[in-house]
């Protein structure tokens, strides 16, 4: 009786250790993503960005965190208190648990499940609940309108994301993320599926409610949308969740299209670099696109956003699924 119990406790401890090894660097990355965003946008607009706190403003994220932590938590009197407090927690948790299946390198993954892609789709489709609960529980018009916009937008773009993922799955022949990366040895999928890569980048902008599709927090029309009633740490959890979601979506994009942890060419100086470094570099590349889009593009109008999702992205991705499967069948290239 004692032996299996000890074994189980040991296994649980190892898993907890692995989770901490992923989550702690992730939170640091989130903090410094906000810094990188301000610096990059500053450079694009010929400004310096944060420069005051620490050398080159490097301690700015910590100062921001401390500020949010010390603010007063305000819970509106007419809000639905349990749901109000639950909503940011759900957003933050969902942004974290997606990382359970992301492979950082060959075999470097917390849980190497067979249906990894479906798991990620499930997690990202749940993200809408945090926002819609926040909007409803705040009992405020602006927050509710923001929540409605956001949920309609996220559901619409999830459909095209699903179809884009199907094209990748057709070529890889597996729902396991490590197998998908290994299938890209030799040819990363963004080369044959370049149009889908572009659609995927645009769709993840919409899915994470980022510029130019950040209508849920459109400050000009909705004050700031769903999180207008939140303050202090509850607001910080939304903020962290949004940025962690950006990193997660970038990781998914690099796994599906940019070859995950694989080096660009399997030649001497490039394959000395360990896989996780390549993976992080690719994530940073996609994150740069996120920030670049924010600094460059004006915000979409809401009906244009829905039109783009349903009348452009959906037919295009569906067409590409048909073309890809036809091509694979015709040339007998289907993975067994």
């Amino acid at each position: 009786m004692g032996e299996p119990l000890l074994d189980a406790v040991l296994r649980i401890l190892i898993i907890v250790g692995q989770i901490l090894l992923v989550v702690v660097p992730l939170l640091l990355a989130v903090a410094y993503l906000t810094y990188a965003e301000r610096k990059v946008i500053g450079a694009m607009q010929l400004r310096q960005g944060p420069m005051t706190v620490g050398p080159f403003g490097l301690l700015q994220p910590l100062a921001d965190g401390a500020k949010l932590f010390l603010k007063e938590t305000v819970i509106p009197a007419t809000s639905n208190k349990v749901v109000f407090i639950l909503a940011p927690m759900i957003t933050f948790t969902l942004a974290m648990i997606g990382w359970a299946v992301i492979p950082m390198g060959a075999g470097l993954v917390i849980s190497d499940i067979n249906v990894g892609v479906l798991y990620l789709l499930a997690v990202s489709s749940l993200g809408v609940y945090g926002i819609i609960m926040a909007g409803w529980a705040s009992n405020s018009r602006y927050a509710f309108l923001g929540a409605l916009r956001s949920s309609a937008q996220m559901i619409s773009y999830e459909i095209s994301i699903g179809l884009i993922i199907v094209t990748v799955l057709l070529c890889a022949g597996s729902l396991n993320l490590s197998t998908i990366v290994e299938a890209q040895r030799g040819l990363w999928y963004f080369i044959p599926h370049f149009p889908m890569f572009m659609l995927f980048l645009a769709s993840i902008l919409a899915e994470t409610n980022r510029h130019p599709f950040d209508l849920p927090e459109d400050e000009a029309t909705l004050v700031t949308g769903y999180n207008v009633e939140y303050s202090s740490m509850a607001f910080a959890l939304f903020f962290l969740g949004e940025y962690a979601n950006m990193i997660l979506m970038s990781a998914i994009a690099s796994i599906l299209f940019l070859g995950g942890w694989l080096p660009p060419f399997d030649i001497a100086p490039l394959n000395w670099v360990p896989g996780p470094i390549w993976f992080i570099l690719k994530i940073c590349l996609v994150l740069f696109v996120f920030i670049w889009a924010r600094a460059t593009l004006p915000r979409y109008r809401y009906d244009q956003l829905m039109r783009l999702g349903w009348k452009v992205f959906l037919p295009l991705s569906l067409l590409w699924v048909v073309l890809t499967s036809g091509f694979l069948v015709a040339f007998d290239l289907l993975p067994n």
Binding site: A8, N80, V83, I113, N114, V115, L118, Y119, L121, A122, S125, L126, V128, Y129, I132, M133, W136, F144, L148, S151, I155, E158, L175, D303, R307
Partner: protein
């Protein structure tokens, strides 16, 4: 093994508790949220059974899409639920009767039923460790039952068309936006520069 058993009891207890709360909670939005939690725990039960694909599909389809629509409708509709509940005290004997009948039927089916000799019950397919869950489902669905699968698709298509037809109503003067026309507009088509004399007007 014991951990799995404990998980099973935990998940099923929460599922049943949530199912009760769905009909017991006063706020309809809370009902939907409990329904979502119930879906989640059922997905967990599927996972314990080793049906990983079904678990994920349950979350993606029911929690990610269907329940969101429920939540939308419940939040948007201004239904007076207190008035809806007024009749509850009148009708509870009928509800209880239906429940008792269902319970009796279930007990009859699971307890006292014996199949005649030679009757083949549907045996569970032995799990094949070399084939993943998803592959096994796909093989059965797309080879053995491909026609049924197609029919299901056609039925869904009919349902979509029906739903669109029901909500489509002719609207009067609708000013549609033609993106191509907007893009091809030139300044000289729409803007005219005129020299206007002071005080004379156009």
């Amino acid at each position: 093994m014991t951990i799995e058993l404990a998980l099973f009891y935990l998940l099923s207890a929460v599922t049943v508790g949530c199912a009760v709360m769905v009909i017991a909670s006063r706020n309809p939005v809370h009902s939907v949220l409990f329904l979502i939690l119930a879906f989640f725990n059922s997905a967990g039960l599927f996972l314990l059974l080793g049906a990983e694909f079904l678990a994920m599909i349950l979350v993606v389809v029911y929690v990610g899409a269907v329940a969101v629509l429920f939540l939308f409708v419940v939040m948007m509709l201004d239904v007076n639920f207190r008035r809806l509940r007024e009749g509850a005290r009148l009708y509870w004997p009928i509800g209880a009767l239906v429940g008792v009948i269902l319970l009796a039927e279930l007990i009859l089916v699971t307890g006292g039923w014996a199949f005649a000799g030679g009757f083949q019950t549907a045996a569970p397919i032995p799990s094949d460790p070399s084939v993943t869950n998803t592959e096994a489902l796909g093989r059965v669905l797309y080879t053995d039952y491909v026609y049924l699968f197609q029919i299901a698709g056609v039925i869904l298509l009919v349902a979509i068309i029906g739903a669109i037809m029901l909500t489509l109503r002719p609207r009067g003067a609708l000013r549609r936006q033609d993106i191509a026309q907007q893009v091809h507009r030139r300044p000289q088509d729409t803007v005219e520069l005129r020299k206007v004399d002071t005080g004379a007007g156009v």
